[in-house]
């Protein structure tokens, strides 16, 4: 461990703003990309199964009507 | 190569009928150039300093403006599709388009360059450099914008998209062309920049027609 205390670690030798700004924004962007990719996947699966269920219901209804 | 003649004749006839297609970009070029002195002030020395960049950016934009409609009509009325479907080599069509595009947008810029030099207070050595860079650079502009037009021919939203795609590819040309003019204004030799521009032009001339034909094929399939 190079730093003596937590306070010193957060201060980063006076460059704290820049260091934590870049680390923070990078992590946020990576997390957003990962979350969004995951969300798109889940969303599409949900939409597709909803669509399939709807088609199935329509088919059942048509069979009943006959 | 045998078929290049009829295609070129057709393109030129179309241009003669639709004058707005090539007159508007030229007008745009002049208007953009005259906006700059109004924006940054009419100080002759300042104008001389910014002239290389301004002239080349205006040239880029005006050629881009002309490129948008390049393949649109032929795509809509099915000419491109017919050409792809028939066993006609598409290359002749593409080369005719390229040549017609340069004749209608690149050449007017070269011819207008004395007027531009007057407007922006460009001195004689820089003017000669400007003429040379325009002669070498406008064919390259035409090549790249034809490529962009072919890529976006069946896209739903053309205009802005085309600019977004092609402007980054113009950057090397912009850098070398304005550097040559700058060197000329400081009475330095600029053969190097011209040679690089020529190299880029030949390189693009070898590859772009192939890319354009495959882009057209993708767009009609």
């Amino acid at each position: 461990m190079h730093f003596q205390s937590w306070a010193e670690f957060w201060a980063m030798g006076g460059y704290g703003l820049f260091v934590w700004l870049s680390f923070g924004s990078s992590y946020v962007m990576l997390a957003a990309l990962a979350w969004y990719s995951h969300y798109q996947h889940k969303q599409f699966k949900r939409q597709l199964s909803a669509k399939l269920a709807r088609e199935k219901r329509i088919k059942q209804y048509q069979e009943q009507a006959q | 190569m045998v078929t290049l003649g009829p295609f070129l004749k057709r393109e030129l006839r179309l241009l003669a009928r639709q004058k707005a297609d090539w007159l508007n970009p030229v007008l745009f070029f002049i208007i953009v150039l005259s906006l700059f002195p109004l924006g940054v002030g009419p100080e002759p020395n300042l104008l001389r300093i910014i002239a290389p960049g301004v002239i080349w950016i205006a040239a880029l934009l005006s050629v881009l403006l002309a490129a948008e409609r390049l393949f649109k009509d032929d795509y809509r009325n099915g000419v491109v599709e017919q050409l792809v479907a028939s066993r006609q080599p598409l290359l002749a069509f593409v080369l005719a388009k390229l040549l017609a595009n340069w004749l209608s947008t690149g050449l007017p810029l070269v011819l207008l360059s004395p007027l531009v030099a007057l407007l922006l207070n460009v001195d004689m050595p820089s003017f000669i450099a400007m003429l040379l860079t325009l002669l070498l650079g406008t064919p390259l502009l035409s090549l790249l914008s034809v490529l962009g037009a072919a890529l976006t021919v069946s896209a739903d939203k053309g205009g802005i998209l085309l600019a977004l795609l092609i402007l980054p590819l113009y950057i090397p040309l912009l850098i070398f062309a304005s550097a040559a003019m700058e060197a000329a204004s400081m009475a330095l030799p600029y053969h190097g920049q011209l040679a690089v521009m020529l190299a880029m032009l030949l390189f693009a001339l070898a590859l772009v027609p192939v890319a354009v034909t495959s882009a057209l094929k993708i767009n009609v399939s």
Partner: protein, 244 residues
């Protein structure tokens, strides 16, 4: 070799392969990223010239390297997609592009945050920053082009073509920007002195680079799976998958 590769061109196989690999890749990427960054942030000595601000290197360099690496991966995929018309590869071109764009954006932002204490301004028209910016434009062009067509297949193919054109252009752009930068070198700009990196700083950096690489693969797996589902939604196997 093609016989061996052939089953992997089948979307269903790729879908399940990606699904199996993804958790491992994501876990490894997270672990390595945390390890590399914590090591780099807390357990290495500060640079004798730049103090602690140099610690941004642990994000800047990996993202910059991988933004270019991702572009070349995308261009190779695009080339394969155009020549051999492999559907899965075609979709992966579009799946990679946003990852590369985010990496490029990270490289730009960290570069700016590093430039502020070093150069005194947030943005300097430095050769490397400018090239990165143009790379971002190229990525955005590929993404915008792929979304502009009503026919998804045409969009993917045209975007692949643009990616190949871009990769041919990229070295030309890079060298012309570098040359332009030497031409316009202002007196106030002091370049980063190329330091010979101390091994104690090198290891966390290498780990972070590896982490970004694996993270790219993990994200590609997620995105490619979505793309496969979207494009194959009328196939029986997808219906069976979504049905239950």
């Amino acid at each position: 070799m093609f016989k061996w590769l052939h089953p992997y061109a089948k979307p269903e196989t790729v879908y399940h392969l990606c699904g199996r690999l993804m958790p491992w890749l994501m876990g490894a990427a997270l672990l390595l990223l945390l390890l590399g960054n914590i090591w780099g942030l807390a357990f290495t000595p500060p640079d004798y010239q730049q103090g602690d601000s140099y610690r941004i290197i642990h994000l800047h360099v990996p993202s910059a390297i991988m933004s270019m690496g991702t572009y070349s991966a995308m261009a190779i995929a695009a080339f394969i997609a155009l020549v051999w018309q492999v559907k899965v590869v075609q979709w992966s071109v579009l799946a990679i592009a946003p990852i590369g764009a985010v990496y490029t954006a990270i490289a730009l932002i960290t570069g700016m945050a590093w430039g502020k204490p070093m150069w005194g301004t947030w943005w300097v028209w430095d050769a490397r920053l400018t090239s990165e910016l143009i790379l971002l434009f190229l990525y955005l062009g590929v993404i915008a082009l792929s979304g502009a067509f009503s026919d998804r297949q045409t969009g993917a193919k045209v975007a692949s073509l643009l990616a190949v054109v871009g990769v041919i252009n990229l070295p030309i752009i890079h060298f012309s920007v570098e040359w332009w930068n030497t031409l316009h070198q202002g007196a106030s700009i002091t370049k980063f002195a190329k330091p010979s990196i101390d091994p104690s700083m090198l290891w966390p950096l290498l780990i972070s680079i590896l982490a970004f690489k694996i993270l790219m693969l993990a994200l590609l797996c997620v995105r490619l799976r979505t793309a496969i589902l979207v494009n194959e939604q009328h196939r029986p196997w997808v219906k069976a998958l979504a049905g239950d």
